[in-house]
């Protein structure tokens, strides 16, 4: 059912490296002025490649401008034409305040797309990094554009990109009291959405494996909530045999992808357990009469942040991955849930409920420097943050309450800037952002 995206991307270096004073955009939490860039429509190297060249150029610009860190200079302002692989007329680009110039060429031949690009630092008048050539099947043309945009982002900011990545989520349809839910996958920008389950069972909260090849989720297929593992390329799902209990849910992969950390409910009480997928060996990580759920591992795999209402309300705690005494990290007003450890390890994202409002926020792992990134009120509910692979952006869902309402996906910078709705065909919830593709 799910057709695996063309994965083969060939990268070839063009020409010799050029040493230059690097153009650098440092991403900070303060207000920044977006960096102006020009991207002349990539040249069609052979006849018939014009539409593809235009589409690839457009997606690169959408990726870059979509971050809020870059601003595209309209082609109507251009003074000179650029011929690919020639030295840019720097004064002409400087005159319209271009800081970064992205040039490229596209050829479609034999079912394949070849993209070449070069990036120039206009003010120092030098190329940034090497020119590159990327090749993919025609179906993978968007990935080519994302790869180019990731390169540009990375060379200018010094940080890894996140455009060539995918998001697993729940596509929702039907009335609010009888929702049909389907595990689905899409590109980070909402494109190429595909269903991975059939929709005849209630499914919840999918989570990618660290390498993006598998997905864990909760399904009512057997009659009770149970954990399933789905192979992304084959769309085949199989149940995970958890420790015995009434209800198993809230599954996440360990960092090595070999174990499942999840919640198990027995006799009305919910605790966190871990099961080794291959050996079927179970270990209990919490043992308390309160609700323990929503586990998320630190990037080094040594610790787990989770939520518990042992204090009387939902709060965040950190414990060793082997279990043991947890330490509370959330001390602000209200309730905290759905903690997710950032890929950089320094922050925990969460859902906060306070005074009737739902927020997405981040705090340091010691609970300090809490910062709210979104605020939902007046008939909306924000929930379920997930991190971009570079730890700079968070995606979550915002649910419009009431009979006709439903959830949509949003993304926001960890600075709180650039809140944007992610396009989807219908209602979408519970996003889990996968790794950067290779």
């Amino acid at each position: 059912m799910f057709k695996k995206l063309m994965a083969l991307l060939l990268v070839v270096f063009l020409g010799a490296p050029v040493v230059a004073e690097p153009l650098r955009l440092t991403i900070t939490d303060g207000v920044i002025e977006p960096l102006p860039y020009a991207i002349p429509t990539f040249q069609a190297e052979i006849a018939g490649s014009e539409d593809m060249a235009a589409n690839i150029t457009r997606v690169i610009a959408e990726d870059l401008s979509g971050t809020g860190l870059f601003r595209q200079i309209p082609s109507s302002a251009f003074i000179s034409q650029h011929i690919f692989d020639t030295t840019p007329a720097y004064p002409d680009w400087r005159a319209i305040n271009t800081q970064a110039l992205i040039t490229g060429a596209v050829a479609v031949q034999g079912g394949q797309v070849v993209v070449k690009f070069r990036l120039y630092d206009v003010f120092t008048g030098a190329e940034m990094g090497d020119g590159q050539q990327l090749v993919a099947g025609v179906d993978g043309w968007r990935r080519l554009a994302h790869k180019v945009a990731d390169q540009v982002y990375s060379r200018i900011t010094g940080e890894s990109g996140y455009f060539d990545s995918r998001v697993i989520y729940v596509a929702e349809s039907g009335p609010k009291d009888n929702r049909r839910k389907v595990i689905s996958i899409m590109d980070y920008d909402g494109q190429n959405a595909q269903s991975l389950t059939q929709g005849n069972s209630l499914v919840l909260a999918p989570r990618f494996s660290p390498t993006g090849d598998r997905v864990l989720y909760t399904s009512y297929e057997s009659g009770s909530p149970r954990i399933y593992m789905l192979n992304v390329s084959s769309a085949v799902a199989q149940p995970i045999t958890t420790a015995p209990g009434n209800m198993a849910f809230s599954p996440r992969f360990s960092r090595d992808g070999q174990r499942v950390i999840y919640s198990l409910e027995t006799g009305g009480n919910t605790d966190i357990w871990m099961t080794d997928i291959a050996t079927g060996q179970h270990s209990r990580l919490t043992n308390a009469p309160s609700i323990e759920t929503g586990p998320s591992l630190s990037p080094d795999g040594s610790q787990i942040v989770f939520e518990s209402d042992r204090s009387g309300t939902q709060q965040l705690y950190i414990m060793p991955v082997t279990g043991g005494e947890p330490r509370r990290i959330s001390f602000g007003e209200g309730r905290y849930g759905t903690p997710v450890w950032s890929p950089r390890g320094d922050l925990v994202a969460f859902t906060k409920q306070n005074a009737g409002r739902f927020h997405i926020g981040v705090m340091r792992t010691d609970g300090s420097e809490e910062r709210l990134l979104s605020s939902a009120s007046g008939g909306f509910l924000d929930e379920g943050p997930t991190w971009a692979p570079n730890g700079r952006v968070i995606m979550f869902f915002r649910e419009a309450l009431g009979a006709g309402g439903g959830p949509s996906l949003y993304s926001v910078d960890i600075s709180g800037r650039n809140l944007r709705q992610v396009p989807s065909n219908g209602f979408a919830s519970d996003p889990s952002w996968g790794p950067l593709l290779r």
Binding site: R179, S201, L202, G223, M247, S250, G268, N269, Q353, G384
Partner: protein, 175 residues
């Protein structure tokens, strides 16, 4: 507990009156009508006459099939316990019926926490019925968290109806 569902010969369409959702168990656990002896044996007729004290319709409307909870709570109220006393009495009299207790939450909470909260509520009812002498082999619990609201408006008038535990009865084979 799993086998209880599979053993059920008839799942009565109790939900029709209680709720507009046709399948309370989730589509993946819907009973195969053919396996249960054909569609003719299933349907509203199974509810029985509301005036017949042994009928599921009577249980639902006169005994009361649900108890409600305060925000983020799973403690039974005095009113809730009175309803459950009636349920226990009815189940003692009509001992060919099985019960699935569904725990639910309102949407003012995060998804996975609400699943656990719904389980707590269902378990509170389960424990109460057991304490009144109902055999554990006749009851099981399931939580739907905030996935299956009964009322869909965005105000307390709806939320209070959604914070519930519903006892859904069906005729089964008792082992």
């Amino acid at each position: 507990m799993q086998t209880l569902t599979k053993a059920a010969l008839i799942v009565l369409a109790l939900s029709t009156a209680a709720c507009t959702r046709p399948d309370r168990f989730g589509a993946g656990n819907s009973v195969d009508l053919n396996a249960a002896g054909g569609a003719g044996g299933i349907g509203m007729s199974g509810l029985g006459d509301v005036n017949d004290p042994t009928s599921p319709a009577y249980f639902q409307q006169n005994v009361g099939d649900r108890v409600l909870f305060a925000v983020d709570q799973s403690t039974l109220s005095a009113e809730g316990r009175a309803v459950l006393d009636g349920q226990a009495q009815w189940l003692m009299t009509n001992n060919d019926y099985l019960a699935v207790i569904e725990g639910h939450a309102d949407e003012q909470g995060t998804r996975e926490y609400n699943l656990a909260l719904g389980a707590r509520r269902a378990n509170a009812v389960y424990e109460y019925l057991i304490s009144k002498g109902i055999s554990a082999s006749r009851i099981r619990t399931i939580s739907y968290g905030k996935e299956r609201p009964l009322a869909t408006c965005a105000s307390e008038s709806c939320y209070s109806q959604n914070r519930r535990a519903v006892t859904v009865i069906s005729i089964g084979q008792l082992g």
